[in-house]
């Protein structure tokens, strides 16, 4: 059997290669360097991410198949990759004093932590570009497996382990379902390549039960990844339990990559069956909007609140997919970018407050922030208002875009659902803003934290040797040490406003992504 080496386009693959190399280097650096590990490793990670991002931008505008059609290089994938890289880059500083990375009594694990983070990014980049069922599946696993680990990596906290295991179990269930669906689609269409599947289904199989059940299974698996109701239930629990930087990353990047492949898979490969899956997804979107928004009401844990909010936001974004039009894809990509900006900002603030107060991610942690820490209060406010979709923020523009796509696709009722969902969502987003600006700072819990209180209140292990009461570090001077978080948070918030007022650059960017699929979408 003769072996012919496949044509490898190294330029097109360069982001992937960079990330892979970066992972190895970071891992090694983590092993080698002991002192100043945090600095070295973070620097390497950031360089890797920056290089990958730069290469993505360099490749912007290219549209071609890579390595025998396993991957597709186009703006949609690159856009998702860029967002994922951005999220990772923000999360790196967020993780600096995370217990998952710095365990008391042990050597720091920044190397492993960030290597896992980077491998998840690698998975996302691959996923966003995947154009083959096999690469699709392996990429989604490459994305998920590091996240399972990261979620459970704060071993001291029972919640972290719980969230890791829950994520693993439900996630594997989702993977298995997805796999089974992919198998059926492969069986039905006889191909593993997306264009091949498109041709196979296009040849009169759009109504075949085998293919359709496959679609249903695949949709279930993907919906699980982007936390669409009723496959959403892991989301709040895992978001709350996981270390906050991981949550931030998971909330943003996973969704981006999964949505990207969702779009590519459903609109390219399953395009011919659009009339069949469209209504089902529309209903899922509506259910998600309702469940997410209603579930978020009255949540005291900010991470949990954002988890539910993420479910609702996923519902909104699914509308862009349901529209099954270029406009819809544009809207979706735009919203993904906006969503990344808004959520990362919020999580950055939560991380800072987690370190500063003993309330963890409870809403009390941000009470009175407006008076005490305006530099934190403003980003959080902007992000909440943007998530709520108030005008002059990127969130509003995103919703506008989505509603336009929905109406254009004759899914006006879905547009109304978005509107109603937004209304409900105001109640909890504004509750956070109200806590920030309109309430006085919460009273500290007292010198001894209540028994059973998760030990996540303290600062870094250096400042907080075991045995000291956690309260001792509460008064650690805020500011300088959080600068690495504050500056990105401020920048993200500014971007949120900027793209709310002058959305055109982002709109153009998103519409490039939409045009990449133009050939496949009506």
């Amino acid at each position: 059997m003769s072996f012919t080496a496949p044509q490898v386009d190294y330029a097109g693959l360069s982001p992937v290669i960079t990330l892979t190399a970066g992972i190895c280097v970071v891992l090694l650096a983590g092993l080698v360097s002991e002192r100043r590990q945090r600095l070295v490793v973070s620097l390497l990670s950031l360089v890797t991410l920056a290089a990958a991002a730069g290469l993505c931008i360099w490749q912007w505008g290219e549209r071609k198949d890579l390595v025998a059609g396993a991957l597709r290089l186009d703006e949609l994938g690159l856009a998702a990759a860029l967002i994922a890289i951005l999220a990772a880059a923000i999360v790196v500083p967020l993780s600096w004093r995370e217990q998952a990375a710095e365990r008391p009594g042990e050597e720091p694990r920044h190397g492993e932590f960030q290597a896992l983070l980077l491998s998840s990014v690698l998975g996302m980049v691959l996923l966003a570009q995947a154009q083959n069922l096999v690469s699709f599946f392996v990429a989604i696993e490459l994305l998920s497996v590091p996240l399972y680990v990261l979620c459970g990596s704060a071993l001291e906290r029972r919640e972290s382990l719980e969230s890791g295991l829950k994520y693993l179990i439900v996630g594997s269930l989702g993977s298995a379902t997805l796999l089974y669906g992919l198998a059926f689609i492969y069986g039905g269409s006889g191909s593993t390549d997306f264009p091949g599947i498109r041709d196979g289904i296009g040849a009169g199989l759009a109504d075949d039960p085998l293919v359709l059940i496959g679609i249903g299974l695949a949709a279930t698996g993907l919906a699980f990844k982007i936390s669409i109701a009723p496959f959403h239930q892991w989301t709040p629990d895992v978001y709350q339990g996981a270390p906050t930087p991981v949550t931030a990353f998971m909330a943003v990047a996973t969704k981006v990559a999964a949505f990207c492949v969702f779009v590519r898979f459903f609109e390219v490969a399953l395009g011919p069956a659009v009339d069949n899956w469209q209504p089902a997804l529309a209903v899922l979107a509506a259910v998600s909007i309702a469940v997410g928004n209603i579930g978020a009401l009255g949540q005291d844990s900010l991470k949990r609140l954002l988890g539910y909010s993420g479910i609702a936001q996923a519902g909104y974004m699914l509308v862009g997919l349901v529209a099954a039009s270029e406009l819809g894809v544009n809207a979706l990509v735009f919203y993904l970018a906006a969503y990344a900006l808004m959520n990362l900002t919020a999580f950055a603030v939560i991380v800072v407050r987690e370190r500063e107060t003993e309330f963890g991610d409870d809403i009390r942690a941000v009470q009175g922030l407006g008076a005490d820490r305006p530099e934190l209060a403003w980003p959080l406010t902007i992000s909440m208002l943007a998530l709520a979709g108030l005008p002059a923020t990127a969130g509003f523009m995103g919703k506008l875009y989505l509603i336009e796509a929905a109406v254009d696709a004759d899914y006006t009722w879905l547009a109304v659902a978005i509107a109603i969902g937004t209304m409900i969502s105001l109640a909890y987003y504004l509750r956070v803003v109200a806590a920030v600006w309109m309430r006085a700072a919460a009273e500290p819990l007292g010198p001894e934290p209540a028994a059973g209180m998760p030990a996540m209140a303290g600062g870094s292990p250096e400042a907080n040797p075991p045995g000291d009461p956690p309260g001792a570090t509460l008064s650690a001077p805020p500011g300088t040490r959080c600068l690495a978080i504050l500056i990105p948070a401020a920048a993200l918030a500014a971007a949120t406003i900027f793209f709310g007022v002058i959305p055109s650059p982002l709109v153009d960017w998103a519409s490039n992504a939409g045009q990449a699929l133009a050939a496949f979408i009506p």
Partner: protein, 99 residues
């Protein structure tokens, strides 16, 4: 044997696996049930590959094995970590996060 037989068998295995996930409480056994589901997928893939005379499905199945192994490793790692923390190895008792 018709390929359909294999497929129905795979569906049955898949359902058994899914049912196992739903009723078993030991995380270890749940992982086993997930293996069952993945293997059911593998059977379907290989059967379809046979049906199509196309080896992509077999490649897919191989990759799935890798994936399954990875999930198992991570899952077992979590189980060990929980065991060390003396957390009960019963998913029903992991209920700190809810609401």
């Amino acid at each position: 044997m018709d390929v359909t037989w294999y497929l129905v068998l795979s569906a049955l295995l898949f359902s058994i696996g899914a049912g196992g996930v739903l009723i078993r409480r030991s995380p270890l056994v749940i992982l086993l049930c997930l293996e069952l589901m993945l293997n059911a997928g593998n059977l379907a893939l290989v059967a379809f590959a046979r049906d199509r005379g196309d080896q992509d499905g077999q490649i897919f199945a191989l990759i799935v094995m890798v994936v399954a192994a990875c999930e198992v490793v991570v899952g077992l790692g979590l189980i060990v970590a929980m065991f060390r923390r003396r957390l009960p190895l019963n998913v029903d008792e992991m209920r700190n996060l809810r609401g």
